[in-house]
């Protein structure tokens, strides 16, 4: 049983709070007596602190405390871990303010807590330190010999002819580079923490998972999860950086216990580059073989990515290559290089977006080599079933998506020859690519409360970093119960609610939505037992009964009906390979004299099952494309390796797309329910919106200019020197 009709587009249920400034983000809660924390960070990239002088800061007005490794209270859970990690690098663990060791540039060495922000900022400027500097390594290209296979990502081989990619009639060999990219959500990260006594902690957090933050803090302080309350009702963007509870957040909570006051930490924008993760610098080699008539015979794909010396960050960079095309021989390898850097974290699309840039560029290159239309080449090598897992896809409407997108952009009308089209002095190019991401569904729990006035309250400890979780959930509840949208309220971002997973991996609608579906279905059953039913948007007596909702509740001495349901995928899902797909078409203009690339038009198609919330889903696609424009053309975190330090750690020098960079974006949904994934028939949306888009731009640039740019971002200098 599922939902079989198409959803109506509705405005966000929390939109009014956002347009009036009433939506409160973590740093905005009024907590009496709140104090302000400012961090002093290391200008050294590797070494030890030899001396640190906090006297002037301690004497400064309004200062409550200054914490360094010399006086920071131990974090019990960290002390238990010990110092040595079990990593390929053999590196030491990073325990902030736990020792005098410096493991990366920008590592906090002192926390200053004062009664106002300005006083904390000033006092932080008074902390002085000396360092014993050790040799550091931050450049992946100069440390490739340290590459190691991470424990969680083994090599993959399919097919007997592992050399097919070298011996095929047509062979392509190419190297691709994706630079450091930084999530940079508009809201600065941090935490607001306070204690009642020594064992009851409350935090307002910037997190994509209130339960995950609760678990991390419980583990760090060795106290019961029930004694830790985490709130995150509104989160000002995450894109992956909120999938971890960062060390400074734990340390600030510890500091709040020590000073016995609420403490608020808001990172500075430059600290957002070093302390809350990033997309790792990744180099990729693809070797691809095909027959003269365009049948793939072998693919070899190797990715090498940076990680911290103290953590083995791993992502699915080579995953798409394993199953996307019907190629008999495929080998993938993934390696990580430990460097003296803070640890990366999944950034929207994560590794799949990095990998798709390489694979979908290479597919385009090979199509031109065998003199085929890139769209026809993809169709010729289309995988009807998943060649990696040898399972059928739960749904795969890629062919329809290719058709919808190509018709809308006018693909067939272009002159396919590179550097053949012009618009005034600008060169014109069309490019396309495919994106794919697993259609995941995790376990999730939801509580429903049907009140006597006929309103429905739903609660789950999930998050909304922007996609519109509550809006989608209210729509699902509306479709199951028939209650009008305005009578349904969905609450999230509170760790005391029934548990759900973090918002990541495009799984929220599938996971939490299933719990909403199940709990609303259970509620219907409960009403039937009570002689009631949902009828045309209200609760009415069932046929042959006369008592309405209020009468039934009062006779049962209740003020509301409530039911809580947990939901997860069943065994039938094991039989299928479940993926969400996207197709991106980009039309670009390239200026031959300046090398400037402008994205002129975008058509993006999603095969992400039944669309639960059409309006917010379209926004998610638009947003993913916008992030993809940044990935393709402007975004690059640049480190001066002599110092191991960013040189562009601000929003003026790290270029995220602005309005003038982004054209009107057309979104198309195949909007066909997936029969397997979940009762709504939905598949994920957040990642596929971005995955592959950068390749569509690179391919369009090639079509416009005949120049193949394999290193992102595609800045004017690269066009001019190619």
């Amino acid at each position: 049983m599922g939902i079989d009709k198409k959803s109506e587009p509705i405005n966000r249920v929390d939109g009014r709070a956002k347009v009036t400034g009433k939506a409160k983000y973590f740093a905005e809660f009024e907590v009496p007596g709140v104090t302000f924390c400012v961090m002093v960070t290391s200008p050294v990239t590797r070494g030890t602190i030899t001396t640190i002088n906090t006297k002037a800061a301690e004497r400064a007005p309004g200062v409550l405390a200054v914490f360094t490794h010399l006086n920071m209270p131990a974090i019990p859970g960290w002390a238990e871990q010990g110092n040595n990690s079990k990593l390929p690098s053999g590196g030491e663990r990073y325990h902030m303010l736990g020792s005098n060791k410096i493991l990366f540039n920008g590592q906090p060495v002192a926390l200053v807590i004062a009664d106002t922000l300005e006083r904390a900022q000033h006092a932080a400027s008074l902390v002085t330190a000396t360092y014993n500097k050790a040799e550091h390594h931050t450049d992946l290209l100069k440390n490739k010999e340290k590459a190691a296979m991470p424990p969680r990502m083994g090599d993959y081989t399919r097919g007997a002819d592992t050399n097919a990619h070298n011996t095929a009639p047509v062979v392509l060999k190419a190297d691709y580079t994706v630079p450091i990219e930084v999530h940079n959500p508009m809201e600065l990260a941090g935490i607001l923490a306070f204690w009642e006594g020594d064992d009851k902690l409350t935090v307002y957090a910037k997190t994509q998972g209130v339960k995950s933050t609760q678990r991390t803090l419980a583990g760090a302080f060795k106290i019961d999860e029930k004694n830790i309350q985490v709130y995150a009702e509104f989160v000002g963007g995450g894109f992956g950086m909120g999938l971890r509870t960062w060390p400074q957040e734990v340390v600030v909570a510890a500091a709040a216990r020590a000073v016995k006051k609420p403490v608020k930490l808001v990172l500075t924008r430059d600290q957002m580059f070093t302390l809350v993760g990033y997309r790792p610098y990744t180099i990729q080699h693809i070797s691809m073989g095909a027959t003269q008539d365009g049948q793939l015979t072998g693919i070899y794909h190797e990715a090498t990515a940076e990680t911290a010396s103290y953590d083995d960050f791993t992502e699915g960079t080579v995953g798409m290559t394993r199953f996307m095309y019907a190629c008999p021989n495929v080998t993938t390898k993934y390696r990580i290089v430990p460097l003296d850097r803070g640890v990366p974290i999944w950034m929207r699309g994560p590794g799949e977006a990095t990998g798709a840039f390489a694979l979908e560029s290479a597919i385009d290159e090979m199509a031109y080599k065998v003199n085929m239309d890139p769209l026809q080449f993809r169709l010729k090598n289309f995988a009807e079933t998943d060649p990696e897992k040898n399972k059928p896809f739960s749904s795969n409407n890629l062919k329809e998506a290719y058709q919808l997108g190509s018709e809308r952009i006018g693909w067939a009308k272009r002159n396919p020859a590179p550097a053949s089209m012009k618009d005034g002095e600008w060169l014109v190019g069309y490019g396309m690519s495919t994106g794919v991401f697993g259609a995941h569904r995790g376990e999730s729990t939801c509580r429903a409360q049907l009140n006597a006035d006929g309103t429905l309250l739903l609660q789950s400890a999930t998050s909304d970093i922007g996609p519109g979780t509550s809006t989608a959930m209210v729509q699902i509840a509306h479709e199951v119960t028939g209650l009008p949208i305005e009578k349904i309220r969905f609450e999230l971002g509170n760790a005391a609610f029934p548990p759900s997973g973090s918002q990541g991996g495009s799984a929220t609608v599938s996971s939490v939505g299933s719990a909403v579906f199940d709990v609303c279905t259970a509620l219907k059953g409960m009403l039937t037992e009570a002689g009631l039913s949902f009828d045309n948007g209200t609760v009415k007596p069932a046929a042959g009964k006369s008592d309405g909702l209020q009468e039934v509740l009062s006779k049962q001495n209740k003020t509301f009906f409530e039911v809580t349901k947990s939901s997860k995928g069943g065994a039938e899902q094991e039989k299928y390979s479940m993926y969400s797909f996207s197709i991106h078409f980009a039309e670009v203009r390239v200026h031959p004299a300046t090398g400037v690339v402008r994205v002129k038009r975008v058509v993006t198609v999603a095969d992400s099952g039944r669309i639960v919330s059409p309006k917010t889903a379209a926004s998610q696609m638009i947003g993913g494309v916008t992030g993809g424009i940044g990935m393709a053309l402007t975004e690059e975190g640049i480190i001066d390796h002599r110092f191991g330090r960013f040189v562009n750690n601000n929003l003026a020098d790290y270029h995220v797309p602005v309005s003038a960079d982004v054209p009107h974006i057309e979104t198309i949904f195949v909007d066909k329910p997936d029969p397997i994934t979940n009762p709504m028939g939905s598949k994920g949306m957040g990642e596929i919106a971005l995955i592959g888009f950068s390749a569509a731009v690179a391919n369009a640039v090639y079509h416009a200019t005949g120049k193949r740019i394999r290193e992102l971002p595609i800045t004017p200098d690269k066009i001019l020197s190619a």
Binding site: T50, P61, L117, M186, E187
Partner: protein, 208 residues
């Protein structure tokens, strides 16, 4: 590898030591005796605010505010941390993102780059002051209708900026809107919908 580095090589002149030096040097004439004595007795913390703050009279969302603040306090931090008008957002604190955009005497400014004391006697409007009671401003309605946001964090700044974009006469075409709204970053990437919202308000002809 014995390269010794220092950070924060400031002289560390605290207000207390400044006052002590002052008592010996020329500032004597400027600083009341009682203050110097209090400082020497170590009770200067309590009176610090009295001598380190300045009066500010400013009208915010039509309400006259009289506060004492340090000269280094920005309009943004005044709004967020002291007046609890948290609709105005801090995204970079460097005038690079536009999240803190408010109107000062009807003009859009980055409140993070505006020292609060410079708004003496002026009219400041924040997102909280844009709607007419429960009736949303047309720009707020349009953002809601066109889904011109996702996480909502840049939204107050976008809306305040968008209102001025039209008032300035810079909303005649979508291209012009894109250019004149490029000081407001939206990392969720809602630009396409934001431009639609602004054009809708402009073409609707309602007073902004």
């Amino acid at each position: 590898m014995d390269d010794q580095l220092k950070n924060g090589e400031h002289t560390g002149t605290s207000r207390r030591s400044f006052l002590k030096k002052s008592s010996l040097i020329t500032a004597l004439a400027l600083t009341p005796d009682t203050v110097i004595k209090a400082a020497e007795k170590g009770i200067d913390e309590q009176i610090a605010s009295a001598i380190e703050t300045m009066p500010l009279n400013v009208t915010i969302n039509g309400v006259k505010q009289s506060v004492r603040i340090e000269p280094r306090v920005t309009l943004l931090d005044l709004l967020r941390e002291r007046l609890h008008l948290t609709g105005t957002k801090k995204g970079c604190d460097h005038g690079q993102c536009g999240a803190c955009t408010v109107h000062v005497d009807g003009q859009r400014v980055n409140s993070c780059l505006t020292l609060a004391l410079t708004t003496e006697g002026r009219n400041v409007t924040t997102i909280e002051g844009l709607a007419d009671g429960d009736n949303l401003h047309p720009m707020q309605e349009a953002f809601l209708e066109h889904d011109g946001f996702q996480c909502g964090y840049c939204t107050p700044g976008q809306i305040m900026s968008a209102v001025c974009c039209i008032r300035e006469g810079h909303a005649n075409t979508p291209e012009e809107v894109r250019e004149y709204m490029s000081g407001n970053i939206c990392r969720c990437g809602a630009y396409s919908n934001i431009v639609d919202a602004i054009m809708d308000v402009k073409q609707g002809g309602k007073k902004v």
